[in-house]
Symmetry: D2
Subunit: 203 residues, 4 copies
């Protein structure tokens, strides 16, 4: 799923779904599923009452490519696991964020600045043998980075609640939107009710 | 998988395995898998160097039935998710731990005490209409409880390291042993190396 | 601060307070405190918008004595630190919960059951040399336990929100109420606004 | 405490110390402190056996100024709380990392690149009215950022273990070293034993 000028987000793996959440929630009352409708109402109740642990029975791993300043906001969400390519060991690839709105001379100046930054970085590493981990200091914050994100359903809802908010930065909101689409396919009732109960209210 | 006189542990669901850990670890160096042997050495290195995040790409959900005092030790492991049946809402079932070593009169006294405790509990709830959430005060700590546990590979290793230790209580060690057997089938290299590198050293 | 028939909660130590939260929140905007009223409005905004990290600058350590089934609910709050006396190593003291409402024969039966449970426990340990960690199986769930709890302001608010709810069990609600009183003395604006904005709404 | 060319780390507040750890550890056995030497041995034992929760009774808040790529490594430590100034709301200050080893023409080229990056950023914000949150894309990863870090003693030991390792990047190692000096003044036995038992072994 393409995001921004050159980013992406892919749902690599997942465990559980609506049924796992229902199973876990029903353990509390030692109850059994009666109907699809009762299950939907149960999930809605859990979301409204903020009973979050049953949603931790769903887990997702995403493969994300995003600008570094977006990744920084993302990594503030501590309840999840990140594995990111490291510029201590990998050479940075010439790949950077360009806001859609830029055009004309300003777009050219933006590209020129980024290209020159990569030129200087390459020179530092190749010619001056500056370690990659130090040379990255001169790269712009808008370069793309790649990471895997493993997160459970409850933490994901928290992420979506904060990052789909109108106060969130556009560049992370589009990732949150893409992720919501992806997980709604896997757990349509949980994330459908979440969208209705939480996101619409908070807007 | 039967544990103790009346307990059990079942691996209900899992996500990822050795390959997910390897994939996540290799993201750091943007490297690719070369051979089975190289992969095994990578996993061994991660374990020895305590690089734990790649193991968070594996997630497991267990269905556990254990004595309440074992559950109490278990729930101290905060990096994981528990959904337990609640004696606020469910009536307690007449099901309690009996140490194997007990025999003769002592065994009979043990059973009698537990049976009388359940008798008193039943009387409080049925006859005196004491709320279940209060009446449970009189139940013994050795009653069985049921819970789901969702935990990632890294936290699971931490659990196993502490609960397979010779200093750990026998009653939780047998659960830890059962779990190690179950996950070795799903992620044989990760938990095989873990067993070799961590458990054998700590013994 | 006395709670229930024989429990208590004491605020042992704390770090930070309203000023620490304000300082941390203002770091985000590199802004400075202008007036007491502006500070109060900032704290209210943080609470309403669920910007929780600044409240993590406040940390509290409580010394708690509570029935074991209350401690079990308490320990489900994973974002905090517990150190509890262990019945693997300590002999259980004859100290158990008695609901206020009990009277007459029922009160006597309640006491008798608890006393006999302790008698049997003592016999198992002293006469039969059953290890304390096993013998505790026969103790009732209503015995008192002692623990230290270290928790930050944000997790504490989450605890209070859930445990002051009318749906929470009475026996933990009285502890939550006691704790709210204690922290309102230390951070009156934060917990005052929290009470107004969160607790009153959720009631 | 000055770190790198223009960074710093200050211990703003703390709670607890060696005595809090000892108090919390002794709760487990309901034991009392007998001598200074016994206390030191207890702390050593806790560290060697990786009994970490008692160290969570100590909490520290640091005020840190560090290059952004150092902050990124720092923020990977999830068990702690960060409040950082945000370049969505604050204008970036002309302040960037310069490796000590740089000299001559290379030093001049490094400075020129950073100055030109800030020139372009200022132009984007002031002249072209590009939002600060987007304009920061062109700033180098080596700019300094300011944040508060609240962390407990156990998580801090984990941070120090990983970031004082010879495999860690020099630029974060010097911060870890400064922090170790600061906390050794506050909790000399805990961090003294930690240094002896963990750091020396891992070297």
């Amino acid at each position: 799923m393409k995001v921004l000028n050159n980013g992406s987000v892919v749902l690599l793996e997942h465990m559980g779904g609506d049924q796992a959440v229902i199973r876990n929630a029903r353990r509390c009352w030692r109850s059994e599923s009666k109907s699809e409708n009762a299950d939907r109402q149960l999930l809605r109740h859990l979301i409204k009452a903020e009973h979050k642990t049953p949603f931790e029975a769903m887990v997702f791993t995403f493969d994300v490519k995003a600008p570094l300043f977006v990744a920084r906001q993302w990594f503030r969400h501590r309840m999840g696991s990140f594995n990111e390519e490291s510029l201590r060991y990998c050479i940075a690839l010439r790949d950077y964020y360009i806001p859609e709105a830029l055009e004309g001379e300003l777009l050219e100046a933006w590209k020129k600045h980024n290209e020159e930054s990569f030129d200087f970085y390459d020179e530092l590493v190749s010619k001056h043998k500056i370690p990659k981990e130090q040379a990255r200091s001169v790269l712009p914050i808008g370069i793309y980075t790649n990471f895997y994100w493993t997160v459970n359903g409850s933490s994901l809802m928290n992420f979506l609640d904060l990052r789909l908010d109108r106060g969130a930065q556009y560049e992370i909101r589009v990732y949150a939107q893409a992720i919501l689409e992806l997980v709604k396919e896997v757990a349509p009732v949980s994330f459908g009710e979440f969208e209705r109960e939480v996101l619409n209210i908070s807007e």
